[in-house]
């Protein structure tokens, strides 16, 4: 962790135009005038790795929680929110593609006739989300979701690949523009998947909170019930026309209202708020092999496209038009005039 913070801080300082000089027990930073306002107006700082070694003016201990490091983290968080890169060096040929596709995907109500295959460019959008589970405490986690931009759909296998070996910053600007029209739709699919992904954590938290809520609720209800019973007993002991009857009835009413307020406070306290923040987006370009099929359904002839992904070295399962899920069995839906899974047929 210490090494990570160390390297991270040096990298960020360098990326914003500061001069960093690495020493054994510390590194020092010279900050340009234009940005020293973000660092308490300091133009020179020494960051020590150990607290015991910190001495002299302009010396700081390098740790999370130090306001200067918080500023640095803040700067880094506001940069690099959207980037593009491509995957180069992928093996773009494969033999017997038709056979591989027909073995992987079944077409129960259509006849798929292979026409041709071509090497083409494709894009995947990586959406980085931060989920904050906020109740009386806070728990945060980061989730990244990959969405294919063509065909549009969730790519669950992207992170199982070793894509980092092929990363290149060279991007074809012209082809990039074709994919941006699908980004909004891709974001919506990502959000749906995100909500599904956080369900388990949310359920676990809800259980914990429900236990605490139950305990507190029982305590409060018991307390007010006993108090109300005491007042009711007093009412029972006095005559109908006793003057204190009105006061006691009012007290009962006050207890009821107080109990209501406390319960509402409790419900509010144990409410779970899940906040989804989109931190960054990365567009990843890669070559894919596009296989064209003629899909015959009775007297209809339709075009069907299936992809071979050289990164995963596998056939990419097609997406159901209706539910957007990948499916191993593709059907033609007469109602929708599109290809769907069995459930959406």
């Amino acid at each position: 962790m210490r090494h990570d913070i160390n390297l991270f801080c040096r990298n960020v300082f360098e990326s914003i135009g500061c001069l960093v000089d690495l020493k054994q027990d510390y590194f020092d930073v010279i900050i340009p005038d234009e940005i020293k306002g973000q660092f308490e107006d300091k133009d020179y700082i020494k960051f020590f790795y150990n607290k015991e070694n910190v001495k002299g003016e302009r010396s700081e201990f390098l740790h999370i929680g130090n306001p200067l490091i918080s500023s640095l983290i803040n700067i880094a968080q506001n940069k690099g929110k959207f980037t593009c890169f491509s995957l180069e060096g992928l093996p773009t040929t494969t033999g017997n593609l038709q056979e591989k596709i027909l073995r992987k995907i079944s077409f129960p109500n259509i006849k798929a006739i292979f026409k041709t295959q071509i090497l083409t460019n494709s894009a995947t959008a990586l959406f980085n989300f931060k989920i904050t589970y906020l109740h009386e405490d806070k728990f945060e986690e980061i989730k990244t979701i990959a969405i294919n931009l063509e065909p549009l759909g969730l790519n669950e296998k992207f992170f199982t690949s070793n894509y980092s070996l092929y990363i290149s910053e060279k991007c074809d600007f012209l082809s990039m523009k074709d994919y941006t029209k699908n980004i909004q739709r891709a974001y919506e699919i990502a959000c749906k998947d995100l909500i599904k992904k956080q369900e388990l954590t949310t359920e676990k938290m809800k259980l914990e909170l429900q236990k605490k809520l139950k305990r507190e609720m029982e305590r409060i209800k018991e307390y007010y019930k006993e108090n109300s019973e005491e007042v009711t007993k007093k009412l029972g002991r006095i005559g109908i026309q006793d003057k204190s009857r009105e006061r006691l009835n009012k007290k009962l009413e006050v207890l009821r209202l107080e109990e209501k307020t406390k319960i509402l406070d409790l419900e509010e306290k144990y409410k779970l708020r899940n906040l989804f923040k989109l931190l960054s987006i990365a567009l990843v370009f890669q070559p894919k092999i596009r296989a064209h099929f003629d899909a015959l359904y009775k007297d209809k002839r339709l075009e069907l496209i299936v992809f071979w992904d050289p990164l995963l070295k596998d056939v990419e399962l097609p997406y159901c038009y209706a539910c957007n899920k990948q499916t191993k069995s593709l059907y033609y839906s007469k109602n929708l005039d599109k290809f769907t899974c069995k459930e959406c047929l």
């Binding site: 999370i64 306001p67 940069k79 690099g80 945060e140 509010e268 409410k271 779970l272």
Partner: protein, 722 residues
């Protein structure tokens, strides 16, 4: 014939006689009936159910129309569990009531009928449930089954997400290097739980492990609702500040309300600002008068006195606001449920609550019940249950089942003691040197005093402030007075003020008696001295005087830069004998290497005096501390010292005890009260009388504080935390 006529005459008078007799009889029966019912009710109250029942039955046997006896019997039978019999009695009561309403409409009211009808309904419901219970053969009669609502989940997508999508659509991209750094930054910013406290590194405090442990316990175990009851002087304010800052840094809180006693409002503001960098607005600020109701809604960081907050117009607004955190200092002012203080705090909506007091129990055990119930209703069950469980009958301060009580308290109350945290402070010794004013000095002081007294009640608020300042400066130095006279009063061509200015200019030597005494004190020992004064002009006067007498000095005041302050403290530590400081000096600085101080002039607020002493008499001081107070005889400061030193031995008290004694004065602000007495007294005798009376009040407050300590020791002893 004669006989028949006789009989006729006899019948009429007889009828009348019978009527009178019948009225008399009814009256007697009614009285008897009422006495049976009354006695029955009193037996019920005592818990003698059988005696009450027989009396109610006797009343019913009188066959009187009033249904009270039936009703009372019905309620009694419900209590006994004889539901069916209760139903019959209540039915009879209702029938009687309906009959009365028909025949004697004015005699019975609708609400009285309603009471009986409700009673009947209740009984019928009980009978129905009992029947069901019998049918099912198990106990399902849980008419009070508690409904627990499910935990609500609210999903929110950040509004800024849209902007990032736009940026992507426009292909406005940055290099991969920044994207990587962004990812690393996001991962670093995620922190789970409260294991590492962020607030410590961004606060200007000297903290101790027990304070960190307290903060962690409140954050992790108590979920932000806790009772901090550390012994006096151990830094509850620091603990509260750490917790507050932690919540702020993590984004849990943004709307904060701190309530305290009037004399501590400004102290809290200073501590939050100096130690935690948190800027609060207080109800002492002029803004409060201007903004009125908006003040509470508009401002997110507010410190107010309980006294101000509980006022009707403020209370109703505060109750409607959803606070994230509420901190109540000197929470023992909430000990009684019937007070406005308690009702106010009980009605404030807030997610997190901290109650701070060094003495959770002042008079009896019921007080701690009330305070814990405020924080966690039902934690100590009901009051009657609590009394039964923990109090010996007849003695409100006695305690039984101590261990069980401590266990319950440990779930929401933290108490650190000096013994446990191993903090020992050396003794402090104070000497007050009363200096006689020379004739000239007396003359000058009296001129100032008369001027202030004459002008005070005629002046605006702003001028009142300067008149008060002038009075304070009068016992400090002429130089200090001169500046105020010139700038704030001299421009008005006021005849008296002009005379004063002339007088002051001619008599700058006034005040030299104090300087001579000061020199004597400094030359009597080789020790370093910290000299306090309220005014910059006096500070310069003392500095020049001491330098001219070859005493090396450093100064400390608010006009110095951070570096200059550091340098001067270092010089004082390593070379110079004296540090002359104004009020602002020393806070947060380590001055424990010095163990002697001189109050060249005296602030009127004892808490300020306490704060001065606290610069050297604090954790870390290893030597006994010596305090010299210089005061001119028959000045306001002289009276203050008599009250604080002679009456309540302020300088011998433990750190923080003075604050607690002042806290017992509830709504009295010490300095304002003293000045009021000074201004309003026409003669010296009048002044002495009023000061004596105020002194009695202070003694009472001190006495109360001693009593509290005794009960406190019993519950929390020395081994509470173990």
């Amino acid at each position: 014939m004669k006989r028949a006529k006789f009989y006729e005459e006899e019948d009429e008078s007889q009828v009348n006689r019978y009527k009178e007799e019948e009225d008399y009889r009814l009256e007697s029966v009614r009285k008897l009936y009422e006495s049976y019912v009354r006695k029955g009710i009193s037996f019920l109250k005592k818990g003698e159910i059988n005696s009450a029942e027989s009396l109610f039955k006797k009343a019913i046997n009188l066959n009187f129309l009033i249904p009270d006896a039936h009703f009372q019997l019905g309620r009694l039978l419900i209590k006994k569990g004889n539901i069916k019999a209760a139903k019959n009695s209540l039915k009879n009561a209702l029938n009687g009531v309906i009959f009365l309403k028909q025949e004697y409409p004015g005699h019975i009211r609708d609400d009285e009928i309603k009471v009986i009808e409700e009673g009947l309904e209740y009984v019928q419901e009980r009978i129905r449930l009992l029947k069901e219970e019998k049918k099912l053969g198990k106990d399902i009669v849980d008419e009070d089954k508690i409904y627990i609502p499910p935990v609500r989940v609210q999903y929110e997508f950040d509004k800024e997400n849209v902007n990032l999508i736009r940026q992507a659509e426009e292909l406005n991209y940055e290099s991969l290097k920044f994207y990587d750094l962004n990812s690393q930054a996001q991962n670093l910013s995620i922190l789970q739980g409260f294991d590492e406290l962020l607030s410590l590194s961004s606060s200007n405090i000297e903290h101790y492990q027990y304070q960190i442990n307290t903060a962690r316990k409140v954050l992790k175990r108590f979920s932000g609702r806790a009772f901090l009851c550390d012994e006096v002087g151990l830094g509850k304010t620091i603990e509260a500040g750490i917790i507050l800052k932690e919540y702020i840094l993590r984004g849990f809180v943004s709307k904060i309300l701190i309530l305290t006693v009037p004399s501590l409002v400004s102290q809290w503001k200073e501590e939050m600002s100096n130690k935690f960098g948190l800027n609060f607005i207080t109800t002492d600020n002029g803004v409060f008068e201007e903004e009125k109701e908006n003040f509470w809604v508009k401002n997110n960081f507010v410190i107010a006195s309980l006294h101000t907050a509980k006022r009707k117009n403020n209370c109703s607004i505060i109750q409607d606001i959803n606070y994230d955190i509420l901190i109540v200092d000197e929470a023992h002012h909430l000990k009684s449920k019937n007070t406005l203080n308690y009702k106010l705090v009980n009605s404030i909506k807030s997610k997190f609550t901290l109650l701070l007091t060094a003495t959770p129990i002042q008079n009896n055990l019921e007080e701690i019940f009330n305070l814990i119930t405020l924080l966690k209703p039902g934690h100590l069950k009901t009051l009657s249950h609590f009394k039964k469980e923990f109090r010996i009958k007849g003695d409100p301060r006695s305690l039984k089942n101590k261990e069980k009580l401590r266990e319950l308290l440990s779930e929401c109350l933290i108490r650190n003691t000096r013994a446990e945290v191993d903090i020992k402070l050396p003794k402090r010794h104070a000497e007050t040197i009363r200096i006689n004013l020379s004739d000239d000095e007396k003359n000058f002081y009296n001129l100032i005093t008369n001027f202030v007294k004459e002008e005070f009640y005629k002046s605006t608020q702003a001028r009142k402030f300067f008149l008060e300042t002038l009075q304070r400066e009068a016992s400090s130095s002429v130089n200090a007075c001169l500046k105020t006279l010139k700038i704030y009063l001299g421009n008005n061509e006021h005849k008296i003020s002009k005379n004063l200015i002339d007088f002051a200019k001619e008599n700058r030597e006034i005040g030299s008696a104090k300087l001579k005494i000061l020199l004597k004190i400094l030359n009597s020992t080789d020790e370093k001295f910290l000299i306090f004064t309220q005014f910059l002009e006096t500070q310069s006067l003392v500095l020049n005087f001491l330098k001219s007498n070859n005493i090396p000095c450093s100064v400390f005041n608010g006009n110095l830069s951070g570096l200059e302050k550091d340098f001067n403290i270092q010089e004082f530590k390593e070379h110079n004998k004296v540090l002359i400081s104004t009020e602002v000096g020393g806070e947060g600085r380590n001055l424990q290497f010095c163990n002697a101080m001189v109050n060249f002039d005296l602030p009127w607020n004892p808490m300020r005096i306490e704060q001065r002493v606290g610069r050297i008499h604090r954790v870390g001081q290893t030597r006994e501390v010596y305090i010299f107070n210089l005061s001119y005889k028959d000045t306001i400061e002289d009276y203050i010292l008599k009250l604080l030193d002679e009456k309540i031995n302020m300088f011998e008290l433990v750190i923080g005890e003075m604050g607690m004694i002042l806290g017992n004065l509830e709504d009295i602000e010490f300095d304002k009260r003293i000045f009021e007495i000074w201004i309003d007294s026409k003669t010296k005798e009048d002044l002495n009388k009023k000061i004596e009376k105020f002194g009695e009040t202070l003694l009472w407050a001190k006495g109360k504080h001693e009593e509290i300590k005794k009960l406190d020791l019993e519950i929390f002893g020395g081994d509470y935390e173990t």
